[in-house]
């Protein structure tokens, strides 16, 4: 399995390059843009967004507790 993964990595550049060199202008532009975007993500800071915090989930958990309480009430 691991050997096959290594082989796949070697082919990586070829596939991207093939699409960037495509004669179809739509595919050529799409993959050129894709390459730029991926580079930006790999530099991380260019596209970094605020990460999830536990406090972001408190409202959802509170609503869920209310719903479970109502569920129990309706079934009793």
């Amino acid at each position: 399995m691991i050997a096959k993964e290594g082989e796949a990595i070697l082919n990586k550049e070829n596939q991207f390059q093939q699409n960037i060199n495509s004669e179809d202008p739509f595919i050529k532009n799409l993959y050129s843009d894709l390459n730029e975007r991926i580079n930006a993500y790999e530099q991380e800071d260019a596209v970094k967004i605020d990460k999830m915090k536990w406090s972001d989930a408190t409202g959802s958990i509170f609503f869920m507790i209310l719903i479970i309480a109502y569920l129990i009430y309706s079934l009793v």
């Binding site: 399995m1 691991i2 096959k4 993964e5 796949a8 990595i9 082919n11 990586k12 596939q15 991207f16 179809d24 739509f26 595919i27 532009n29 799409l30 843009d33 894709l34 975007r37 991926i38 930006a40 993500y41 790999e42 991380e44 260019a46 596209v47 970094k48 967004i49 605020d50 990460k51 999830m52 915090k53 972001d56 989930a57 409202g59 959802s60 958990i61 609503f63 869920m64 719903i67 479970i68 109502y70 569920l71 009430y73 309706s74 079934l75």
Partner: protein, 470 residues
């Protein structure tokens, strides 16, 4: 390139590429609004309708709220993945399902969307046949046996012609259809609650309950759980454009988990009052003669808007997964809907359809959440997501752990509940089937990835370069 093709190409590129900083336009409020517009739909009305024929108002509310909110709470963490990397659902799922596996999942999404399109259009067809009957038109138009298929296929052709012209035409139609559907829903809710009185509605008994209340409750809950899980493939569409991960999480839960319950609640109350699960039957018995006629027209316009949105979403998703295919081929994937509109067979089997969706999406939800949070621990290589010969190839493009999980999840679900014959085990009466299936899938996938089908990409310190967003 024509203006229409240019707009479509722009949409395809927009869906295909990882979102840039400038693409991230949605704060929490924007994201909730855009997802609510999709979520408040005919399928919500119909799921509520089924619920209201089995349970009274108090229990319907409990089944609808829990059935939609809890599954959403279980799958909504995956929005963090889409938000962090700015990727669409079918690109994102390549890391857990494999490149080919994700494409196979895309075809499940196609079937789901075809089903939803046909439900929306057939409901419109039934409404127009009912309206034709009120207007005294010939039997071929006014009978449900011939009129509903005729009008629904006619509406499919209209929706196709609008959708094929691209986003500009769609925006014009949905600008009308979305408010129309809102007016219909809140109008129905107001007429039921203020016209009938809350106390009276609360005491109406359901028209078609099962032999025991626990069986009715578990079956109604399962339908709502199915609706809750069915949003899984749609979660990536907009959360990738969120400004923050927290915003994507909260918007997913509040819009698909809580606010969409309004449509189901309206459906349940209307079904209780009218004694029928079918929205086209509700209008005259709830809103009177002219009110009923207007309601039927609003229902049709709103549903055609939903069908157009779904058709466009399906065609653009097809182009995103297969960018080299033409726009007409992408639109052609919506044509099989016509076969589902030829009679009411599929529409009448909505309960089975949504239960089948429940089990498929519960299993897949367990897989993708387990993979991203517990197996890969949020370490993803975005380059490999797009390189279809990259690290997520697994076995010939399919992840064996995902296949094993689907098999075990299927066995567990069908042992608990058969959505085609409605046979249920005793355990189903206490837990329903979709939620336990989700947890079985989550654990199975984790165990399989860590101990059975071990790939380097799933190991703690993979040798391939994986970038972790900080």
């Amino acid at each position: 390139m024509s203006k229409q093709n240019s707009s479509i190409s722009k949409d395809v590129a927009f869906g295909f590429l990882p979102a840039s900083k400038n693409d991230r336009i949605f704060n929490l409020r924007d994201l909730i609004l855009v997802q609510v517009v999709i979520g408040l739909s005919s399928f919500g009305l119909l799921t509520g309708g089924y619920t209201g024929t089995m349970l009274d108002a108090k229990q319907s509310l409990a089944a609808i709220l829990f059935g939609n909110a809890f599954p959403m709470l279980l799958i909504v963490p995956i929005t963090l993945y889409f938000a962090r990397y700015g990727i669409d659902t079918f690109v994102g799922f390549r890391s857990s399902l494999g490149y080919l596996g994700s494409n196979i999942f895309f075809f499940v999404f196609l079937i789901l969307t075809l089903g939803y399109i046909s439900i929306a259009l057939f409901m419109s067809g039934q409404a127009l046949a009912e309206a034709a009957n009120w207007l005294g038109m010939p039997a071929i138009f006014s009978s449900q046996a011939t009129g509903a298929p005729f009008f629904s296929i006619l509406l499919f052709i209209c929706a196709f012609l609008v959708t094929v012209r691209g986003p500009v035409a769609i925006q014009k139609y949905t600008a009308v259809a979305v408010p129309v559907f809102m007016i219909l829903m809140f109008g129905l809710l107001a007429i039921v609650l203020f016209g009938q009185g809350f106390t009276k509605v609360a005491h109406i008994l359901p028209s078609e309950p099962f032999e025991t209340t626990s069986r009715s409750f578990a079956t109604a809950l399962e339908l709502n759980v199915g609706l809750g899980f069915s949003w899984l493939p749609y979660l990536g569409q907009y959360s990738r454009l969120s400004k923050t991960e927290g915003g994507a999480f909260k918007a997913g839960f509040y819009s698909y988990g809580i606010i969409v319950c309004i449509a189901a609640l309206v459906g349940a109350l209307a079904a209780l009052v009218a004694g029928s699960l079918n929205p086209s039957d509700w209008m005259f018995s709830i809103a009177g003669s002219w009110g009923g006629f207007i309601g039927l027209i609003l229902l049709s316009v709103g549903n055609v808007g939903a069908a157009i949105f779904l058709m466009y979403s399906q065609a653009v998703s097809f182009k995103t997964v297969f960018p080299k295919k033409s726009w007409m081929i992408a639109m052609g994937t919506t044509v099989p809907t016509i076969f589902l509109l030829l009679s009411s067979t599929f529409y009448d089997a909505f309960g089975s359809f949504i239960a089948v969706i429940s089990f498929i999406m519960a299993v897949l939800g367990g897989i993708v959440v387990a993979d991203y949070f517990f197996v890969k621990r949020q370490r993803i290589s975005i380059r490999d997501l797009y390189d279809t010969q990259g690290s997520y190839t697994y076995w010939k493009g399919i992840n064996p752990s995902a296949v094993l999980t689907v098999v075990i999840g299927t066995i567990v679900y069908w042992a608990l509940y058969n959505p085609l014959t409605f046979e249920a085990s005793d355990f189903f009466l206490h837990t329903a089937a979709g939620i336990p299936t989700y947890f079985v899938a989550l654990v199975t996938y984790y165990v399989s990835s860590k101990y059975i089908f071990r790939y380097e990409v799933d190991m703690e310190r993979p040798s391939v370069e994986l970038k972790e967003a900080k």
